[in-house]
């Protein structure tokens, strides 16, 4: 088991800069998510951590030892790829025992170890079956078994659920997380699926264009995004942005949009110019006595809740409200934004301005 520390890690492919300067720490036993859109540098980061790519500069520490230039085989890490590769001519047992046999472990010890792993994964009954006829889920379990059987320091997984259909993915995500909780092994997991990251991760690093945008606990990142990118990438529908031109002083508690003062957490830094008022869909309430108005343009039924799209003086927004609440398309309604949850952004560079509410999260991120 291991702590992994990344310091100023950089990777260039020719003139293309894939990873700019990443710094974050994966604590021992954490389930750690590298999250971002395709091309953001998350897989490159993972491959450098595993030793499959050499960093251009920067350092990687596994349990305090700098391993940046060490080959993959000396890092004691198990890698699970998106497309799980099994040896097709071997049965399940031989697939799982292969890493141990090639290490020269005695046969009785191998047998015992394989049995133990099969028990954890719930596949003892298929140990002697050929891998050819297995379902997708069982193949994935066998691939996992082969990775965990040799007790590596850490597991690295690159979109291991990416190829599965939605229903099964949800099931495997729960299984993976439960497996992690039983074994307590440090796991670094790459995904572009924000829900998967929220659902499974103890910590998340959000990357974009080779840059670490934010690093922290999922709920903190959701509540207090450090940048507009994070605010939009996490959450479905994403955070709403109301763009406006205005100012707020240090210690200020409201901004004026379309002639209406809207409250927000007390600001630690002031700003003047193009700003963005950020609010999550579930923190918007319909209240006809509210002065800020929106015109309802569409509604989407989701069972217990519905998503209502509205046109406002500051752009289009989406609110999540109870589905029994009646809404009329084309009607205008007053809107209240829960002032405790608002994030104000500098529209120019996309950075969240510091307030008493987000200060704690942004400070350690």
């Amino acid at each position: 088991m291991a702590q992994i520390r990344i310091v100023n890690l950089r990777k260039d492919f020719g003139s293309f800069n894939a990873v700019k300067s990443s710094t974050f720490t994966v604590e021992d036993g954490e389930f750690f998510m590298l999250l971002g859109p395709s091309g953001c540098g998350k897989t490159t980061t993972l491959r450098m951590m595993a030793g499959l790519e050499l960093p251009t500069s920067g350092e990687i520490f596994i349990d305090g030892e700098e391993v940046g230039m060490k080959p993959a085989s000396q890092r004691d890490i198990a890698f699970v790829f998106q497309m799980f590769a099994l040896y097709p001519h071997m049965n399940v047992r031989r697939n799982i025992s292969y890493p141990l046999v090639s290490q020269g472990m005695p046969r009785t010890a191998v047998r015992q170890k394989v049995h133990e792993i099969a028990e954890i994964l719930g596949i003892t009954d298929i140990l002697d079956r050929p891998v050819g006829g297995l379902s997708g889920g069982d193949r994935q379990r066998v691939a996992l078994g082969r990775a965990i059987v040799r007790d590596p320091k850490a597991f690295f997984m690159d979109e291991p659920l990416g190829a599965l259909d939605a229903e099964f993915r949800e099931h495997m995500a729960e299984e993976l997380r439960a497996l992690h909780d039983r074994m307590g092994a440090t796991t670094v997991y790459v995904t572009h699926d924000q829900l998967e990251a929220m659902q499974m991760g103890d910590k998340i690093v959000v990357m974009n264009h080779g840059i670490v945008e934010q690093f922290g606990v999922p709920q903190d990142i959701y509540d207090w995004p450090a940048t507009k990118f994070v605010a939009q990438f996490i959450g479905s529908p994403p955070m709403n942005f109301l763009d406006f031109h205005g100012m707020i002083g240090k210690g200020g508690t409201s901004v004026t949009l379309d002639g209406t003062a809207l409250s927000l957490p007390r600001m630690i830094e002031g700003a003047n110019g193009d700003l963005t008022f950020g609010v999550r869909p579930e923190h918007i309430q319909f209240d006809d006595s509210a002065r800020y108005r929106g015109r309802i343009i569409a509604t989407e039924y989701l069972g217990t809740t519905q998503i209502v799209s509205l046109e406002t003086a500051n752009g289009q927004i989406k609110a999540r409200i109870a589905s029994h609440q009646a809404v009329g398309i084309g009607q205008t309604t007053g809107l209240r934004f829960d002032p405790r949850t608002v994030t104000l952004f500098d529209a120019g560079n996309g950075r969240a301005l510091r307030s008493e509410a987000n200060h704690g999260v942004l400070a350690h991120g």
Binding site: E167, Q219, Q232, I234, S236, P237, A298, Y301, L302, G303
Partner: protein, 331 residues
């Protein structure tokens, strides 16, 4: 625009029964979504309506006309496939114009330009109109292939998981666009997906398919709030409905073997003790994984709950559904 009627339609591929006597009326101007897992018969239904497959049995009518002897072209349907199929040597604009330039339609030039411009705008590909269609990302190609159906004005649009290859943001934008295009144009649309969000948010009617049979047909709200079976209840709702032994919380109605509880229909803070196995923070909501009398169940709670693994929380069912041994709804 037209009504589509399927009457006892069956189709097998060798020994595999894909559709087993489906009767279904797709009202004129409706947005019907067929929902079900892989192999339920969704795509087969679509292909039978389009004329790409021939039914073994039963009748299909489009706009009151039996289409058994009509070719796909004569049926006047526009189909969008999951896998985009574009003319690689043409630009985006030429691909979009192509259906309008068909000798049967004889669309005037100005009309073609207007239509192509409008559709490109909706699909957010206006800036790519003069690109070669091969110089596009997968998502852009898929939008062009949707656009090629939208420029036409067919009796029925048939779409087979058209959004599944797009990223989340675009998918959510296009859900709204497709729905408003359909609502404004009054077009009849038959749409296949296994994504329940698409079914819930776009459909006027959802048809739930199970192993080649239509098990429920109704508005998303009807199916969500009044499912006919465990299977139909499990199609909609995230997290999925909890299905537990009928008498787990107390006496059950006669004939019931299972109780179905949607996660939001488990009241917390009253009732009987349950054990919190795990707390899952998803941002806007938090899921509680509970253990109650050796059964696992999932409920939702407010985002910033102070509950954590190892806590005890009281729970009580509210608005339960009861099902019999075959999975059919009892009450």
């Amino acid at each position: 625009m037209a009504e589509v009627v399927l009457n006892d339609v069956a189709k097998s591929f060798g020994s595999n029964v894909a559709l087993d006597g489906v009767s279904l009326t797709i009202p004129d101007g409706s947005f019907v979504v067929l929902l079900g897992p892989t192999g339920a018969g969704k795509t087969t239904t679509l292909r039978l309506v389009s004329g790409l497959e021939t039914a073994d049995r039963g009748r299909i009518q489009i706009g009151g006309r039996d289409v058994a002897n009509l070719t796909p072209a004569q049926r006047d349907v526009a189909m969008v496939f999951q896998q985009y199929s574009l003319y690689p040597h043409l630009t985006v604009r030429q691909n979009l114009e192509f259906p309008l330039k068909s000798p049967i339609l004889k669309t005037p030039r100005a009309e073609i330009d207007r239509k192509v411009g409008e559709v490109a705008e909706i699909l957010q590909i206006s800036h790519k109109l003069d690109n070669k269609s091969t110089a596009l990302s997968g998502g852009e190609m898929q939008r062009v292939s949707i656009g090629r159906a939208l420029v036409r004005n067919p009796s029925v649009y048939l779409m087979d998981e058209p959004l599944s290859s797009l990223d989340a943001k675009l998918r959510s934008d296009l859900r709204i666009e497709l729905k408003s295009i359909q609502a404004n144009s009054g077009a009849t649309l038959l749409y296949v997906t296994h994504d329940q969000i698409e079914a819930m948010t776009m459909a006027t009617h959802v048809g739930v398919l199970d192993k080649g049979r239509l098990v429920q047909f109704g508005s998303p709200r009807e199916i969500y709030e009044n499912p006919v079976s465990v299977y139909a209840a499990s199609r909609l709702g995230q997290p999925r409905i909890n299905v537990l032994p009928a008498d787990l919380f107390g006496t059950a109605p006669a004939g019931a073997t299972h109780i179905g509880l949607r996660p939001e229909h488990i009241v917390q803070g009253e009732g009987q003790d349950s054990f919190v196995e795990r707390v899952e923070h998803l941002g806007d909501q938090t899921r509680l994984h509970l253990s109650f009398r050796d059964h696992d169940l999932i409920t939702v709670t407010e985002a910033h709950t102070t509950l954590k693994g190892g806590d005890i929380v009281k729970i009580r069912p509210e608005k339960p559904y009861f099902f019999d041994a075959t999975g059919a709804r009892v009450t």
